[in-house]
Every structure is written in C-alpha cells, then in structure tokens.
C-alpha cells in the first residue's frame, strides 16, 4: 500500500471504508483487460455496499474475462480533505488506480440528493465536471439508476445515461467500446453516437433543447436523424435467467444492509399515484420460488450471513410468498438464519406473518396509510382503509406490541385541513383500538406518526402537480400539532426545506446543472445527510444560477407542456398518467394489476410479466 495513503488512513475516521481487499472482491490481470470500469455509488461505503443494483452490475461486468469493473464510493469529508492535501486523486478499491485513468466511470444515481456528490467525486477524482470539457483522454462518464429517469438536471456532466435495468446494457456497451477500439474507428464522439442506437442509452449532447419565453420547454430535438426521439428504458425480460451475483463482496466493516438480499420481483402492481418507483420498475416480473430458494442457499453458503431479507417494492404482493417462505424455513430454521420482510402493507399483515417472520416479531411495526382520510387515500390510490389498519394493529397488539409507527405525506394534491385532522384522528383511533383490545400488553400504547412532504416526481400521475409552498406546509404542520390531543401519539415531521430542494431537482431541466455547480462551489455535498444539507447554500446557488426554484417546485405544469423528461420513455404511457391524474381529482381509484390490467402500457415492454395481458395486436 502506498505510504502516503497509509499515513492518511491513520488520520481519518473509519479507514476500513477505503482499503478494499474484501473477501469476494474481483481482481484481474490488467494486461488481459480491454475495458476498465470504475463503478461509483456517490455516498458512503456503508450505504453503497448495501445497494443490490451495484452488486449485480459489478458481477455482470466482471463475468467477461476482458472487462474489469472495480468499485468506489464517496469519501467522507475528512478523507476528502486529506486526499486533496496530499494530491491523491480518487482511486478504485480493487487496483488502487486513479479512476481518471479508466475507460468508463459509472455512477449510480438512486435519488436526487446525491446530485452534488456527483460533482464532489468528480472533483476528488480530478476529472473535469462538464462533459464538454473532457476530451478523449478522460473516461466516459455514465450514470444509471432510478434518479436518471429525469437525467436533465445532471445532463451537462454525463456523456451518457443508461435508462432502466443495466444487466444487459452495460456488457453490450463494453462490447461496442472494445469492438470500435479494435477496429480502429473509436472516437468518443462516434462511440456515443453508436451507443445511442443500442437502445436504452440517452446521450444528452445529441439533443437540442429550446425554451419558450415563459421558461417552459419549446422542443427537445435530436441533432441527427439516426438518434432516437425518445429513449425507451431497458428491462430484463426473464429475471429467472438473468445474471445474479451469488458470491458478493463481503465487507469488513458494518454496512447498512449487512445481510442476504433476495430480490423477489421488480415493479409494483399497486400504482399509488405519487410513487415513482412503482412506475419506473414496471412491468412486474417475479422470480420463481425455486430460483429464489436456490439463490438463497447459494448466497448463504458464500456469505455465511444469518439473515435473509426478502426485498421488492411491496413484498406481500409476491405471488409465491407462502411457497417461498415455506421453502426457506425448511432449512433456515435449522441453520439459525432469520427471515425478514422490509416493508409491510396493512392489508397484508396477518397473524401468520407475525408468527413466522422474525423481523416482524422483533421490531416495531410500521405502516404507511400516507393520507388521513379515505377521500384523500382514494385520490392517491392508496387502497387501504381504516379497517385494514385497525385489523393489522390488533394483530400486533395481540402479540404483545404496544408501539406502531404510521407514515403520512402532507401536501398531497387536493389536500385540505380536514385531511390533516384526519391524520390525528386516525392515530387516535389506533390508540382507542389498543385500549379496546383485551389481549393488549400491560403497557401504555405509543403511536408515532411521521409526516413527510409530498414531492411531485417525474413519471407519476402527479408529475404535473405543484408542491405546496413552504408557508402552507408549515401551516399544515402546525395544524396537525394542534389537532393532536392524545398523549400516546408522538409526532415527527420532515424538514420542508429539504423536500423543497428535492422537488426542484426532481423536476429540473438542463438549466439546473448550473445551480448544482454553484451549490457545489458553495460547499454542498452529502445532501441526504442532515449534518450537511444547507438550505441557505441552495437558495444562494439558485440565485447565482439565475434559477427561480419556485418555477420548478411550486408551479403546476400544463398537461400539454413539454416536460424536461419527455425525452425518456419509462414504458408506462403518458396517456395513462394523465387519465390517472384526472381520476385522482374525482377521487376515483384504479385497481391493481392483480384485479385486472389498468392499461398502463408497460405490457408492451414484453418479458415474463406476471400480470400483463399477452401482446395482442
């Protein structure tokens, strides 16, 4: 190990983040490699190592003998300071080589608050931030992940974006790169042009964006005829057959999800109208219990973890859930491995789950009714009612629980103060139910309500909506406080300022890149961390960049307006979003895919979909 690096590792917190060398890490001989990837999760090692997507893509790229993919994460500011002081540019963990010398530098974007960390890691890597400033000598900068469905705010920084699932796209891109280099016809420009034709790749430099006088978009125009007008996301057609990492890298230091993550399916059948994840991961594709059980056994053998977490957006909708838990419990009980289900929907919370799944037994219960009144729950298409919630709570009380945590959102479209009062009323009904339950434990109940602010997100029926302005959000916050009477109800509220900035970034267009640069220059980084987020920095940055943040967050967009993200096609039709929006205003719900296809359009992506109708023309 380099002596300078050793010396600084002795000075920083958690040096184990920066050493690599873990069991399961993939090392290769550089001489046999034609294409080198540095894959970065722009947050700490502990968070990044918990991301399944990066784990999958790391393995998928390394399947090829002539490609080597390495990892890197965002160094904590104390480390960043030392790296700068000692002239050590960001390196990849496996080889220790600076990432600026790689062929590709890939960054996964999971949510908007990590946008400034893109600039932060580029700065530490010594790579010019704007793609225009990078010539042939620099790595090709590519991003993917859920927050790239609206790539425009960070379009100035990346050479290209991979929209949708990357398991097949990234190896294809490597192929193209290696082929063009071999044939001697590689230039960055020609490569990007070819990549745009592979499907699922958005190359921002190949599009012109023009604006109307009012700041809305006039047109998004491809510069050449062979560049697709819209970039359709990629999906994996059959999740049973796609590459899956069975020998993950085993971190030495403790990470957020230090356990086996068994991804049961992608997409969600529910269609809550505020939910972006539901839409962008559609259509729903399940893995079979057989595949999952085999993968779990293999993972157990290779990791020795004593916990398996079944993941997906809404685990209780997995059709094979009973079959799978049975198969798993067959051997996990013997091996002292526990099962956990991360998120629960109230209508699916049963006695059986309570008994069989240890995580449910051990931890407190969390439910997400999201809105306080049935009317508003209908508006957002959260199809649970009060009885579902009370029933679920009673199951928990029967088993000796006295704490329940309820998640809500404030600022939802059509919300009134009555809906806010409904949140308080619902919490108090839970308290009431507790005292009515003869089996309750001999402790006072504690109901926590956690209220976040609604953020309109691209590719949802609410993408056109305006966020409530801060004054109104605060007023609602106070109103809820005043409405709460029971001393058994605790109340926490998310910072409206954070949500405001998130909304601006989520709905931003290309002009936002300047604001990001200004924010970074003013010191913004790790914006998802309370200790770093600074509202003042953001307001200054917007001003310096000549951006009115309210134009993005608090303005209702026109239905015929060209949206910044219209250049991306997430598979679900814009028409469907529109009709869902209109139904929302009439408080009419839409059934889930299980009850019958709602016609979202995702079926045309093809693949082994669990609920979509057969393609019939």
């Amino acid at each position: 190990m380099d002596k300078k690096i050793e010396a600084i590792l002795k000075k920083v917190s958690k040096p184990g983040r920066y050493i690599g060398g873990e069991y399961g890490e993939i090392l290769k001989n550089k001489d046999e490699i034609n294409c080198r990837w540095a894959f970065c999760f722009p947050d700490t090692y502990e968070i990044g190592m918990s991301n399944l997507g990066m784990r999958i893509l790391y393995g998928a790229l390394n399947e090829r003998p002539d490609v080597w993919c390495e990892r890197c994460y965002a160094p904590w500011p104390d480390m960043a300071e030392q790296m700068k002081k000692n002239d050590l540019p960001l390196w990849a963990l496996e080889s220790g080589d600076p990432v600026k010398d790689f062929d590709f530098f890939a960054i996964t974007l999971q949510y908007e608050q990590c946008f400034t960390n893109v600039l932060y890691v580029l700065d530490l890597a010594g790579i010019p931030q704007r793609s225009k400033e990078r010539g042939e000598e620099w790595p090709i900068l590519i991003a993917g992940g859920p927050a790239t469905y609206n790539p425009e705010p960070v379009a100035a920084f990346f050479d290209l974006f991979s929209i949708g699932e990357g398991e097949e796209a990234l190896p294809e891109l490597s192929d193209l790169y290696i082929r063009m280099k071999k044939e001697g016809r590689y230039t960055k420009e020609s490569f990007l042009r070819e990549a745009a034709k592979l499907g699922g790749f958005y190359v921002p430099s190949l599009y012109d964006v023009s604006y109307n006088e009012d700041g809305t978009i006039a047109a998004i125009t491809p510069k050449y005829d062979d560049v697709p007008k819209k970039v359709l996301k990629r999906i994996i057609k059959d999740l049973d057959k796609v590459y899956f990492p069975e020998k993950p890298v085993m971190p030495y230091i403790e990470t957020v999800h230090d356990r086996i993550m068994l991804e049961t399916f992608r997409g969600c059948i529910r269609g809550c109208r505020f939910c972006q994840a539901c839409m962008i991961y559609r259509p729903v594709r399940e893995k079979t219990p057989e595949t999952l059980n085999a993968q779990a056994q293999c993972l157990y053998k290779h990791t020795g973890y004593d916990e398996i977490s079944l993941t997906s957006l809404s685990i209780s909708d997995y059709t094979g859930l009973r079959d799978l838990t049975e198969k798993l419990l067959d051997w996990t009980e013997k091996e002292k491995v526990s099962l956990s289900l991360p998120s629960q929907r109230v209508d699916a919370f049963t006695k059986e789950l309570m008994e069989r799944v240890s995580s449910v037994r051990q931890s407190g219960l969390t439910f997400a009714p999201e809105a306080g009144t049935q009317r508003l729950r209908d508006v957002i298409n959260k199809c649970v009612d009060e009885d579902d919630l009370i029933n679920a709570c009673n199951v928990a009380f029967d088993y000796g629980k006295n704490t329940v945590k309820l998640y809500f959102m404030s600022g939802l479209p059509t919300e009134t103060l009555e809906d806010i009062e409904g949140i308080a009323a619902l919490a108090e009904k839970v308290v009431e139910a507790y005292y009515k339950n003869p089996n309750r434990p001999k402790k006072p109940p504690q109901v926590t309500i956690s209220v976040s602010c609604f953020i309109p997100k691209p590719f949802t029926p609410f993408q056109w909506e305006a966020q409530d302005d801060m004054e109104l959000l605060m007023k609602k916050q106070q109103h809820l406080k005043d409405s709460l009477k029971s001393r058994h109800v605790r109340y926490t509220w998310h910072d409206a300022k954070v949500s405001f900035v998130e909304a601006v970034l989520a709905k931003g267009n290309r002009k936002m890149s300047r604001a990001l640069e200004e924010a970074f220059k003013l010191g913004a980084k790790f914006d998802a961390w309370d200790e770093f987020f600074s509202y003042d920095i953001w307001m200054q940055a917007f001003e310096k960049a000549g951006i009115d943040p309210h134009f993005y967050a608090n303005r209702r967009m026109g239905e015929d307006e060209i949206l910044p993200w219209d250049v991306i096609d997430c598979g679900v039709d814009k028409r469907f979003f529109l009709s869902e929006r209109h139904k929302a205003y009439e408080a009419r719900t839409t059934g889930n895919c299980k009850d019958g296809c709602a016609g979202c359009g995702a079926w045309k992506m093809g693949g082994n979909c669990t609920w979509c109708p057969e393609r019939s023309e």
């Binding site: 590792l9 184990g16 060398g21 069991y23 030495y252 230091i253 053998k301 990791t303 004593d306």
Partner: protein, 214 residues
C-alpha cells in the same frame, strides 16, 4: 485432531491493519460460519460464537502473532480446519496454527515490535528515547499521566536508506499493556515535527520468564 477448547494463531497484516477489533470479530465469525467450523455458541438471548482474543491490537498496527481461543463442539483435523478457514479469508488475515492447550493469556508479559520510521532518523530517535515519554491515560481515578519510557524493556535501532528500524520489547502485562500507537504519539510529542510515515508490526509475545508465548 483437535477438540474442545482450541487456540488459533493468526496474522493480521497489510491493509487489514485498518480493520477494527469489532469488524475483525464479525469477519472471523463469517469465515468460521462459511468454513463450517463447529464452534460453540454462547448461551442466552442473542447467541454468538464465543471468541477470546489475546491482546488488543490498535487499528493501524500489523501483527504476525495474534491468538484467539474458541471451543469446538466436534473434533477436527488441524490442517483441514486451517485450510477451510483460510479459504474463506484473504491472505492478509490468515490462520497460521491451531492447537490445544495454550498458555494462559494472563501470562503474557512482553511484546516484541518492529517499527519503521521514515521521518525520524536514528539519532533523532535515540535522543527522544533519552528522556521521559509521558502520555495521558484514562484510569479509574480519572486522567493520569504515565511515562512510557520505563516500559520499553529493551530496544535496538538501525538505519537503512533513510528508514529507521526500531526493534523494541514493550511491557505487555495485562494491566500494564503498552499501546504501540500511543508510544509513537509520545515520541512525536518529544519533538516538533509530526511523525506520519511509519509502520508498526507485532512480532512475538513472551511470558515473564522470556519464553515465547503460544
């Protein structure tokens, strides 16, 4: 064949010196699990494999003489056991020997270290060792000052190509253990320049009669 309570000698070198004790425990637990070591678990609400270590090793220091006691629930062949565990680890954390009936950890009295300094010359080091080396330590009575100099039982200094080798035997009594990292900090305070480029390697442990501990 070994069975019952066994001792494992291992090394923790290279990058692995930056892994804390807690993370080392987790790593070993995982490796033992994957290797199918029939290790005895503690009783109680949250059972975990019982592991007892010889002596703390500060983060940043390497060692080729770490010891760990575990209890097997079934007998195992030594070499097979070592190979099985090492197959689940990287070379910088490696099991070296497995045997029954080691000496009591309480008998450890002395530890042998090799320090390399890049920013401290032979002469400079000698002169710093000629005076007291006070450090402030937490004790039951609050913060107290301790002189580390008398706890350096024997040493030898050589210099080669601008690197100073400091070969030292430090007190390692269970209630008078010298933390080698703190010794470097004390040496640093004895001068006016920071000591940044250095390494620490623990080579061997000894009992009070200066026979090698194992």
């Amino acid at each position: 064949m070994v069975s019952g309570k066994i001792r494992i000698k291992f090394h923790k070198i290279g990058k692995l010196k930056f892994i804390s004790h807690l993370d080392l425990c987790r790593t070993l637990k995982g490796a033992f699990g994957r290797a199918g070591v029939p290790i005895k678990y503690s009783q109680g609400f949250n059972p975990h494999p019982k592991m007892v270590f010889s002596m703390p090793l500060p983060v940043g220091a390497e060692s080729v003489c770490e010891y760990l006691d575990i209890t097997l629930t079934e007998p195992r062949e030594e070499k097979e056991l070592i190979d099985a565990i090492n197959a689940q680890l990287t070379p910088e954390l490696k099991m070296l020997e497995i045997y029954e009936g080691g000496k009591d950890f309480m008998d450890i009295a002395l530890a042998e270290y090799e320090f390399f300094f890049d920013d401290l010359s032979e002469k400079e080091l000698e002169s710093r060792l000629s005076a007291a080396l006070p450090i402030v330590k937490k004790s039951k009575k609050g913060m107290i000052e301790v002189d580390l100099r008398p706890k350096i039982v024997r040493y030898e200094i050589t210099e080669r190509e601008k690197t100073t080798r400091f070969h030292a035997f430090l007190s390692a009594d269970s209630n008078d253990f010298v933390n080698p990292e703190l010794l470097v900090r004390a040496l640093e305070r004895a001068g006016d320049k920071p000591i940044e480029l250095y390494s620490i390697m623990r080579l061997n442990l000894y009992t009070a009669d200066v026979s090698v501990f194992r």
